[in-house]
Amino acid sequence: MDAGVLGAWMATGLTLFIFSFLYKDNPLFKLAEHLYVGVSVGYAIVKTFDSVILHLIVKPIFEQGEFSLLIPVAIGLLMLTRYVPNAAWMSRYAFAFIVGVGSGLAIPRTISSFILKQIEDTVRPLLSLAGQDGVAFSVNLLNPASNLNTIIILIGVSSVLFYFFFSIEHQGPGKVVARTGVFFLMTAFGAAFGYTVMARMSLLIGRLTDMIEFSDASYGRPTLWLTVLTIAALALLTRRRENEPSTSDR
């Protein structure tokens, strides 16, 4: 059998098995789920072994004589001492090295990229209010750079930050500001939820598009045959479960 055709049958069958969970939890779904996890982990292990162990460690050391690579290899091997209780303390050197390098790389860059740049972008547009011809104010909701939107963003950021400020009680004018923050948060959550729905539907569209493609005669119509088989298997499993004596009857 052609590999493409075999792949089509596998993909269709596993998709239908996963979708069968929408009816109820069943052995077909569990089979597909375990296969997915197993194949993903197996693929990652094989790829990592080939790309890292063989191409970046073994070959350079033995073929090109790059013995300096033994230093990172030794640090990496120290991590495995976690499995030997008496030598587990040695793994701390490896973790200290990794945490140190990771923090050193990440902290300054993250502060610069996410905190400072974002604060700058929230405040800087206010300067655009004062142009060469005095103070001007542009009103255009569709243009993110318009002054009206700048003011809305500033109000939104300030009120949301105030909402998460718990050192004073949200009373009086503070309550109004906190409520405004909640309004902005709800709007943001709504937008995020809309995008999430779109993403999930896109995944469904992707699977269904493949299944429509695999209903073609050139593949042997796996979509049709496997749909019938899956429904029959589900019906059989349900009937068997119904006929099983309940624990109270035994």
Binding site: K47, P60, R109, S113, A191, Y195, M201
Partner: protein, 281 residues
């Protein structure tokens, strides 16, 4: 039990069937609803259009088959555009689980455009380290990727002529489905080595990346299947994303209708309960 109560306790499988049909029917019988181009997708397209031939275009395919329906059409559209513009394409991935898929994608698009491996494009594959790979590439591309996916030495490849680090990349696009992805490319790549960067992402991630877009940290954003459909429309090669947009619109409409109906039943039940309590008192 009143009608509203029965409707609010409806079997969830009926809703699954409704959503399934709303997705399947437009795929089988497309209507061809118009697709409006958003400014964030247009800016990626415009920047690509402005690049002279033989500029270095880096495409980081940072996703795996789990996000394929959304990000694969984006990658296809971007590669078609890059090859049509005769750009030098340098493709890679930061996700080990997406390596095979990425290689297949790049090879297929290059064959479609009649491009030669090593001369017009290269697929570098995957290298361990996540964000550290980006920093390594910024210092020296050849230490991060001494060989390409096929095992050929990257030094001396015609496609990488004059390219020593990320500073020599004209335009980079990261199609990310998580970490490391677009944010890592900005933090450890663009912010440090100063090259123009755009992002493509799944729908779930898009709201989180808009702040980077508005502040100019990335120059464009292709969000989810919709973004891919917009890009396909812009390059004039409609593919899987455009085909899926009718289904997307139909399911959105179905969900809106379901939310409205459920709210109506919920408020009608509350009103009934209020009236009953008034009568009893």
């Amino acid at each position: 039990m009143s009608f509203s109560e029965r409707m609010l306790k409806i079997d969830r499988r009926i809703i699954f069937v409704v959503i399934g049909l709303c997705t399947l029917l437009p795929l089988l019988y497309p209507v061809g609803l118009p697709i409006k181009i958003s400014p964030e997708v247009r800016s990626v397209y415009d920047y690509m259009e402005s690049l002279p031939p033989h500029s270095v275009f880096l495409l980081s395919i940072d996703f795996d088959p789990a996000s394929k329906p959304e990000l694969h059409p984006q990658a296809v559209a971007l590669l078609r555009h890059a090859f049509r513009k005769d750009l030098r394409v340098v493709a890679m991935t930061l996700w080990v689980s997406g390596t095979g898929m990425a290689e297949q994608l790049v090879t297929q698009m290059a064959q479609e455009a009649g491009k030669e491996n090593g001369k017009d494009y290269v697929f570098l594959g995957w290298s361990p380290g996540g964000s550290a790979v980006i920093i390594n590439m910024g210092q020296d591309l050849y230490t991060a990727f001494p060989s390409d996916y096929g095992g050929r030495a990257t030094k001396g490849l015609p496609v990488l002529d004059g390219v020593y680090s990320l500073k020599d990349v004209t335009y980079a696009v990261s199609l990310g489905a998580g970490v490391p992805g677009v944010e890592a490319w900005y933090v450890f790549g663009k912010d440090k080595y100063k090259f123009e960067l755009a992002g493509g992402c799944t729908g779930v991630m898009a709201p989180g990346l808009y702040p980077l877009l508005r502040s100019g940290q990335i120059n464009g954003l292709i969000g989810g299947l919709r973004g891919a459909a917009e890009y396909e429309s812009l390059i004039g090669q409609k593919g899987r994303a455009v085909a899926g947009m009718d289904a997307q619109s139909a399911t959105h409409l179905a969900i809106i209708v379901l939310v409205v109906i459920c709210n109506l039943f919920y408020f009608s039940l509350r009103r009934q309960a209020k009236l009953q309590s008034q009568r009893s008192s």
